[in-house]
């Protein structure tokens, strides 16, 4: 029988229950576990199929039912659809679509690997946008066919080469727009697994806005087109230059602030030094006062203040003994506040 698959249910037991229909009729069908493929391979509703089986009667309900032993998609699209679903399930089971394994893109990539066709429009677009946006970048193009029979093996090989390049920040893999069938390479299981194994963050850019490929689900970031991938991956030089200028300003201000604080600290240190000198000088200064007082005490003038006086002759010579005084001779008597003219009357 040939028909469209509808309402397919795969039970825990592994048996498949579904309906086959065409424009005029429908029939319920069952495919026992021993004939049914694994649940992952269950084709989606709407798939056109050939079903081989034998007509049976479901006694409980008194219902006619087809017991199917083999189910085949009627056309290539159907087969491709089945294959795609199988790959999708397998990749999903292995966690390749997990959001947890998505890596963030580097903020300032300088070495970017590009996996694409060397003759395609995609490469031209990528280079043009990169030159305009972020001239700091160096692009490493790993060329490969992106459609046709050898494309999947080529992309897998190219992704392997990316892993051998040194200091790569990011990898963009993609192609320009194409027919839906041409996207097959990006739904290939081998390509998806190779993409997941790339050691740097990846962007898929398959250039088909409406169709999401499995590679898009595996890549860390999906871009709708190669140009969009470059815009996502590369910063704009103007923004980064402005950022650097802001840092320069802050650097200057920060040093100003730093030196002002250092200056204040230096001033505080000087104050402390002065205070320390002050303390060290205090002792000598006290000693000096004491010394001065002692010297003062020894000064002859202080002796005179206490009532002593000094006799000197006209030449200033001090008269110390009786013999120094001739009878009637004048002399000067020095008292505390000045000289007094005097004369000797005689000696007693």
């Amino acid at each position: 029988m040939r028909g469209e698959l509808s309402g397919l249910k795969v039970y825990q037991s592994g048996h498949w229950y579904f309906t086959l229909r065409d424009a005029e009729a429908q029939v319920r069908a069952v495919m026992w576990k021993r004939y049914a493929p694994p649940a992952e391979a269950a084709p989606p509703d709407g798939t056109q199929v050939f079903a081989y089986g034998i007509p049976t009667v479901w006694e409980e309900r008194g219902e006619f039912r087809l017991t199917v032993t083999e189910l085949l998609a009627t056309d290539r699209l159907g087969k491709a659809q089945l294959a795609l679903e199988r790959v999708r399930k397998a990749l999903e089971r292995d966690g390749l679509f997990d959001l947890a394994r998505k890596r963030p893109l580097p903020s300032l990539p300088e070495r970017v690997a590009i996996v694409t066709s060397l003759d395609g429009a995609a490469l031209h677009d990528i280079v043009t946008v990169a030159r305009k946006r972020w001239p700091v970048v160096e692009l490493f193009v790993v060329g490969t066919k992106v459609q046709g029979a050898e494309a999947a093996a080529g992309v897998v090989r190219a992704l392997g080469i990316v892993n051998r390049l040194r200091r790569i920040d990011l990898c963009i893999v993609g192609r320009g727009g194409g027919a839906k069938e041409d996207l097959a390479v990006f739904n290939s299981e081998a390509v998806c697994r190779a993409l997941a194994a790339v050691v740097v963050p990846t962007i898929s850019a398959v250039g088909h806005e409406t169709d999401i490929t499995l590679a898009d689900l595996v890549a860390d970031v999906r871009a709708p087109t190669p140009s969009a991938a470059v815009e996502m991956a590369l910063p704009d030089r103007t923004d980064i230059t402005r950022h650097a200028a802001g840092l320069a300003l802050r650097l200057g201000n920060a040093l100003g602030r730093g030196t002002r604080i250092a200056g204040e600290r230096l001033a505080r240190t000087a104050d402390r030094l002065e205070a320390a000198l002050e303390r060290q000088l205090e002792g000598p200064r006290r000693d000096l006062e004491r010394l001065k007082a002692q010297l003062d005490a020894l000064s002859p003038l202080r002796v005179l203040e206490r009532g002593y006086s000094v006799a000197r002759d006209g030449h200033g010579k001090v008269l110390r003994r009786r013999a120094d005084f001739a009878p009637g001779a004048p002399f000067q008597l020095r008292v505390s506040d000045g000289d007094v003219a005097a004369r000797a009357d005689g000696t007693s």
């Binding site: 903020s107 060397l118 001239p135 692009l139 490493f140 051998r164 040194r166 200091r167 650097a244 250092a262």
Partner: protein
């Protein structure tokens, strides 16, 4: 050899270090010698970054693998 890395620090490294220096100086409690050393390093990093940003010209290289599996690159800049 393919992918020979530049010996100078990358722009990303220069800018990252510059940010660290600015933050350190903004926090700095006034060790003048240290501040000046940081400042000088900052100026050098800034100069390198500025040069990269103003003088760089995006380069495009094609990666090729020879029969022995060795990689080499070829300029595609004349596209």
């Amino acid at each position: 050899m393919t992918g020979d890395a530049p010996t100078s620090p990358s722009l990303a490294e220069d800018l990252k270090r510059l940010e660290e220096i600015v933050r350190a100086l903004e926090r700095e409690e006034g060790d003048l010698d240290r501040s000046l050393a940081l400042f000088e390093e900052g100026v050098a990093r800034l100069r390198a970054a500025r040069q990269r940003l103003t003088e760089a010209e995006a380069r495009v290289r094609k990666v090729l693998e020879d029969a022995e599996g060795a990689l080499r690159t070829e300029s595609l800049d004349d596209d």
